[in-house]
């Protein structure tokens, strides 16, 4: 039982810590994830800015190299003279320096003069003019930026470039459907600078870098922005340049470790970035892993959205960070739970030890030991319990003592009665025979006429004394009579009523009023009518003796619960008078045989003793309340057997 209290306590502690733990784990996990995620997306946005900056810088560097070339005087001369071979050499040097993939010159008339490709000169008419050069020619100002070059243009520049640009499409999950099997066009960073001589346009110098399969730029982004951070053997940061939705330059790797060129972006990203022209920052599934990503559109020199720039960091790093944090949280919760168990154990012990002592104590009490040890009194509610327990023991003890005294009293009373009874029996027999002689011969002597007055009065005294002795002996006999009760079902009100009628004459003579207040619906009681009537007569005579002329006696009956016998059902007969009352010191002695306050010859002191015996043999009690000068009330209580009550109920 104690252990179960302890385990209950521990269980509730555990329950609370588990609940709190679970909630904090859930909320903490969620918050943590949000925090980490928003931190990561903020960072990736910045990273994308940096990547764009690198991209633009590269365009700018192309433009600057071209610009520097156009400023040279020799270049101008050669251009004026259309000295193609020299120009090609010059361009080749420039391209090598500036790491350009293609470069060329278009004349003011719009014809390609020379290129750095495999067949630099002569240029056939049919070969198209590079679109960026065309734009610069048309506008007459320098143009730089992203440009899409179809296969036709690329082969014109250099067939090797066309080959490099060709990319097989790799089927990709979640990508938008696309019919073509390969991409032949290329995307390039390029610039075109018009060369002026006064107001004359001598031509346009153009050049650029093909982005298809190029690694330099994306790797630079990765190395500068993500500082070559490695996570579980993989570079954490990735960058990609998309041509349309196709990866043409990337350091995102496929599971087999190759660059994921030819794979495509998911349809959602394509729609948001390419179609709607918005930025995308979110977690996204890239090729084969989850990344936290940022995409933005790349717009070409004509203002068309032709591709996308992407950076992304492996989500795994953040997920693991979160995982680690959650692990710590779980550890804390587990520590909390262990603490709860320990605390619960100790607390249960602390709470239960006084309770356990109380339980032991109450076991002792139930075994009859009324002064058990209950240990030190606690200062909390348990202390209240302990004190209450102590009080309870004290009152138990008192009750015990009272009961013992009561039963001792009763025993004493009946022992007294028994011994007096035996004495009375013997005495009565021995005394009554000589008394018969005394009374008879005294009476016979008194009949004679020849007796002088003095002797007559002596004889009279002998007769009176004898009658008195007879009365005492009769009282003793009554008292000693331990006869079986001759019980009959009796209507109490009728018995009491008839007894009062018997006494009415005497009351009248003494000028004392006697009234009967019968209770209603009394159950039938089984009692020895003769003996019980004797009891009533005795008590009423006592009341008459105690009451002066003009006083009153009230007899009443009613249903009542026993005062001593734990609420047993019974009936009560109360005889109350307005007489002299009984002094408190006499109350204890009232029922003792031979206790009387009446004059010698008047009282025997046996009436109440006999009455007490009779009522006791009926299973009842007599109670006395009295106040000197105001009167007394004698209350007889008799138990009612359930059986007789039931009989009465069914009879109705």
């Amino acid at each position: 039982m104690l252990y179960s209290t302890r385990s209950k306590l521990i269980a509730s502690f555990l329950g609370v810590s588990l609940l709190v733990g679970a909630v904090s784990l859930f909320i903490g996990g969620q918050l943590l994830y949000k925090a980490v995620f928003s931190e990561a997306t903020n960072r990736i946005r910045l990273d994308l800015n940096a990547a764009r900056e690198i991209y633009l810088t590269r365009i700018n560097s192309v433009k600057v190299s071209l610009n520097i070339t156009t400023l040279g005087d020799e270049f101008r001369l050669e251009l004026k003279r259309y000295d193609a071979p020299k120009l090609v050499n010059r361009l080749r040097r420039m391209a090598q320096h500036a790491e350009l993939d293609f470069a060329g010159i278009v004349t003011g008339e719009g014809k390609t003069l020379c290129r750095i490709g495999t067949n630099p000169v002569p240029i056939e008419e049919s070969q198209p003019v590079n679109p960026i050069a065309n734009l610069a020619l048309k506008r007459g100002v320098p143009v730089s930026g992203t440009v899409v070059l179809s296969r036709e243009f690329l082969s014109a520049e250099n067939p090797d470039l066309a080959n490099r640009a060709r990319i097989q499409l790799v089927p990709t999950r979640r990508a938008a459907p696309r019919e073509a099997k390969e991409e032949a066009s290329g995307m390039a960073l390029a610039a075109a600078i018009p060369v002026l001589d006064g107001d004359d346009l001598l031509g346009v110098l153009y050049g650029g870098i093909l982005l298809n399969r190029s690694t330099t730029m994306v790797d630079r982004v990765r190395d500068t922005v993500f500082q070559q951070e490695i996570y579980k053997g993989r570079s954490i940061g990735t960058a990609t340049i998309f041509f349309n939705d196709l990866r043409i330059s990337t350091n995102v790797l496929t599971p087999d470790g190759n660059r994921a060129i030819g794979t495509r972006v998911s349809r959602e990203v394509k729609e948001q970035v390419l179609t709607e022209g918005k930025m995308w920052t979110d977690r996204a599934f890239v090729v084969s892993d989850w990344y936290i990503t940022a995409y933005e559109p790349l717009v070409d020199i004509f203002g068309e959205r032709v591709g996308m720039l992407y950076v992304g960091v492996l989500e795994a790093k953040y997920a693991d960070m979160r995982g680690k944090a959650l692990t710590v949280l779980v550890l804390i919760i587990m520590a909390g739970m262990a603490l709860a168990i320990g605390l619960g154990y100790l607390l249960a012990d602390k709470i239960m030890s006084p309770v356990r002592r109380l339980i032991k104590a109450s076991q002792r009490v139930s075994e009859g030991n009324l002064s058990p040890q209950i240990g030190p009194i606690s200062k909390d509610e348990i202390g209240v319990l302990q004190n209450t327990f102590k009080d309870m023991i004290v009152s138990l003890e008192e009750r015990d003592k009272r009961r013992r005294e009561e039963s001792e009293n009763r025993l004493l009373q009946s022992e007294k009665q028994a011994s007096i009874g035996r004495l009375a029996a013997g005495v009565a027999h021995e005394i009554n025979n000589p008394l018969t002689g005394i009374l008879t011969f005294t009476r016979l002597l008194l009949r004679r006429r020849d007796i002088e007055d003095k002797s007559r009065s002596y004889l009279q005294k002998i007769a009176e004394s004898t009658v008195r002795v007879r009365k005492i002996v009769k009282g003793l006999l009554d008292f000693s009579r331990q006869t079986e009760l001759d019980r009959e079902p009796t209507e109490l009100n009728r018995l009491v009523g008839s007894t009062i009628s018997l006494m009415e004459n005497q009351a009248l003579v003494r000028g004392v009023g006697i009234a009967f207040e019968p209770g209603e619906n009394l159950p039938v009681v089984t009692l020895d009518r003769g003996q019980f009537q004797g009891v009533l007569i005795n008590i009423i005579i006592n009341a008459l003796d105690a009451t002066e002329t003009g006083g009153n006696i009230t007899v009443s009956t009613g249903i009542s619960l026993s005062a001593s016998d734990t609420g047993r059902k019974g009936v009560e007969i109360s005889i109350a008078d307005t007489g002299c009352g009984i002094p408190p010191e006499d109350l204890d002695k009232l029922f003792d045989p031979f206790f009387t306050t009446k004059e010698v010859g008047e009282g025997t002191g046996l009436g109440l003793a006999v009455s007490y015996g009779i009522v006791q043999r009926h299973g009842g009690t007599i109670r006395v309340q009295s106040e000197v000068g105001r009167g007394s009330a004698f209350t007889i209580w008799l138990p009612v057997e359930e059986l007789s009550e039931r009989r009465k109920n069914t009879g109705c």
């Binding site: 009554n432 025979n433 018969t436 002689g437 005394i438 008879t440 016979l444 009769k474 006999l477 079986e484």
Partner: protein
Amino acid sequence: MKILVVDDEDIVLESCQAVLELAGFEVLLVPSADKALEAMKGNEFSLLLVDVKMPKRDGMYLMRKVKEQWPDIPILVMSGYYTTETIKEAIKMGAATFIAKPFEPDELVETIHQIIKREEHHGKKEGPRN
């Protein structure tokens, strides 16, 4: 009329004799149940006055014997120590009534007169039948 008084104490016998003779009865006194039965054989009594408590054979025994042989003779039972039970038993065994010792002389005479009157009344009724 002749009355047989049975008691183990002389003073009671003498008291009864004094009272009853004064009242005009003829009296025979015996100290025990056995003596009483003996006396019964030679005499005819109108009434028996019997004490209950006697040494050896008591009044109850005597009453039983008398009722067997002389069922018509009325018996008055007296005692100095009695209970309701003993009175009831005596009446049941055929005692006419009971008188407690010590009694007033007049009380005894009156009681006996009443019993005899009742018996006579009885006898008259039964007489013609015999």
